[in-house]
């Protein structure tokens, strides 16, 4: 098993932390992992992205030009990364704010209404967990138990009281994900 993932969106959407939780879940699952962010002014807004690799073998390059899965959370990221998903790969995106939907016909495309659901739930902080839940429904690379364990390791102690809300959002994301029928 080897899964090469790009996660991209606005700074502040929890892109990097979603990647970190996914990577930590992989560690808990006994996998090899790498997490490499774009870093710099993006931290203050603008676009942020992170490449996460989960594998059962040693990872050579953490830097990649193409991905098995793209998880994109805004239009800029869709424009930037849609073409770097491998043929037959997976694209998961939040349609909120997307004016130009994906054009690829050789991908499995899924949507997750995470922004809408986060607003409805009144807890914007778990936005990225709806998305991660959706991804893990499509590709169950790690168990939800190991995600919780990953959260426990990646969150500071004082935030551990947030874990139940995160878990609920993960499970809700699993329910909300929809296969896009756009391209049949």
């Amino acid at each position: 098993m080897k899964e090469e993932i790009i996660i991209a969106g606005f700074g502040g959407q929890g892109v990097l932390s979603m990647g970190k939780i996914l990577a930590y879940s992989g560690v808990m699952q006994g996998q090899e992992v790498s997490w490499i962010p774009s870093y710099g002014p993006e931290m203050r807004g603008g676009t942020a992205n992170v490449t996460v690799i989960l594998s059962d073998r040693k990872i050579s390059s953490p830097v990649l030009q193409e991905f098995d899965t793209g998880i994109v959370l805004n239009q800029q990221s869709l424009d930037k990364f849609e073409d770097s998903i491998k043929a037959g790969g997976t694209l998961l995106y939040d349609p909120n704010g997307i004016t130009h939907p994906p054009h690829r016909t050789d991908l499995d495309i899924y949507t997750i209404d995470a922004a809408v659901e986060a607003a409805r739930s009144g807890n914007a902080k778990v936005f990225n967990m709806f998305v991660l839940g959706a991804f893990l429904r499509i590709k169950p690379l790690v168990t939800i138990e190991n995600v919780i364990e990953g959260l426990r390791h990646s969150l500071p102690e004082r935030a551990h009281k947030m874990i139940p809300a995160n878990e609920a959002a993960l499970r809700r994301g699993m329910e909300l994900v929809r296969k896009s029928e756009q391209h049949g």
């Binding site: 560690v27 997490w35 490499i36 870093y39 050579s60 390059s61 953490p62 830097v63 990649l64």
Partner: protein
């Protein structure tokens, strides 16, 4: 489950420093290595091991604090990124001249000048060939994984005290900022004052008292006004650098035994090249990788050996081509194309870009029909 953590390379440097019993860290924040000082501040080792962590007013101050700590036999270190290392170069020359052990970490970024905060490998000349003035060399370790960011801190101190010389860990923004699994070293105690007196008979600790009392104070200096004395000192230093070249070469080879084309790369570029080797081998192409772990001493013999059956070399660095000079020198007069490939400005070359450059070299030299 084993105690495996997921951490950034920079965070690991800080943990490794505390765990290998460092006495003092002096640094000034600069991207992309600010997490070293941040993590040390969070770890508060002054409350546990008694390690000093001090944010200096500048890189010039940091390196001179390192000089002070090293003069009294302490295990001291600093970390910075490229423009900061430029400021430290005078200090590095003085440390080397005065034969003081210390560890300096450069998590390099794009230059020249203020450049960019993104990753780069354009400090090779500065770190490996000098930077400071005078005839001096420093062992240079080039980690290519988060685990090696842990392991090389301890190794760097071992070499520093073995040779009484500054040792540099030359990392880059990719290795500093990426997260991977890491097994941190066990906690070692800091050395006691008595141990330092015994292990560092050269340290400037005064005359002392009791049975250990000395007749004369040690003087730590790099200043030898008398030309004959200065030359003798240079010969002594050179003898030390020769020993490093003989005993301290570290290198990793991947698929080189039958390779017709050899990639040479260190740090982040060596990880990218490892994927190129995987991809090339999957297509049946005889491609290998030589990864210098020590940049000084440089693994020239390994490269020379590989050149005996190779058709061409591609040196891959995030620079306009610096290490390639050492690759060329290692190969010597053998009729062999040696090319450079590398992106700069903080752009990281993708495995595909490197593979394309390799295929072009192969096509031009008859290795690819």
């Amino acid at each position: 489950m084993e105690d495996i953590k997921l951490m950034k390379g920079n965070e690991v440097l800080a943990h490794a420093a505390v765990r290998c019993g460092v006495d003092g860290y002096f640094g000034y924040p600069i991207t992309p290595q600010s997490e070293v000082l941040e993590t040390l501040s969070e770890l508060r080792p002054w409350k546990t091991t008694g390690m000093v962590v001090l944010q200096a007013e500048s890189e010039v101050a940091s390196i001179n604090m390192v000089y002070g700590g090293a003069s009294v036999g302490k295990r001291v270190m600093t970390s910075t990124s490229s423009p900061g290392l430029s400021l430290m170069c005078e200090g590095l020359s003085y440390l080397a001249g005065a034969e003081l052990p210390c560890v300096v970490i450069d998590v390099s970024r794009g230059g020249p000048g203020l450049g960019t905060i993104q990753a780069s490998q354009a400090d090779y000349f500065q770190v490996v060939k000098g930077g400071g003035h005078g005839d001096y060399r420093m062992p240079v370790l080039a980690p290519n994984s988060v685990q090696e960011m842990n392991d090389f801190v301890d190794l760097a101190f071992e070499l520093a005290f073995k040779y009484l010389n500054p040792v540099v860990i030359l990392a880059d923004g990719v290795i500093g900022q990426m997260m991977e699994k890491v097994r941190l070293s066990p906690q070692k105690p800091r050395r006691t004052e008595a141990q330092i007196r015994e292990e560092c008979p050269w340290a400037a600790l005064g005359k002392g008292s009791g049975p250990m009392q000395r007749k004369e104070r040690n003087i730590v200096t790099s200043c030898y006004i008398d030309p004959e004395t200065m030359e003798r000192h240079n010969h002594k230093l050179q003898e030390k650098y020769d020993r490093m070249e003989r005993d301290e070469v570290r290198v990793e080879e991947m698929e080189t035994a039958d390779a017709e084309y050899i990639l040479v790369a260190y740090g982040a570029s060596s990880r990218i090249c490892a994927k190129v080797v995987e991809d090339a081998r999957a297509e049946g192409l005889r491609v290998g990788l030589i990864r210098p772990i020590t940049l000084f001493p440089f693994p020239a013999a390994t490269i020379r050996r590989a050149a005996e059956h190779a058709k061409g070399f591609l040196s891959v660095e995030l620079s306009m081509g610096q290490m390639i000079e050492d690759v060329r020198m290692a190969i010597g007069n053998a009729a062999m194309p040696v090319r450079h490939f590398g992106r700069t400005g903080g752009i990281i070359h993708s495995p595909r870009e490197v593979y394309d450059a390799l295929k072009q070299l192969m096509t031009e030299t008859g290795g690819l029909q």
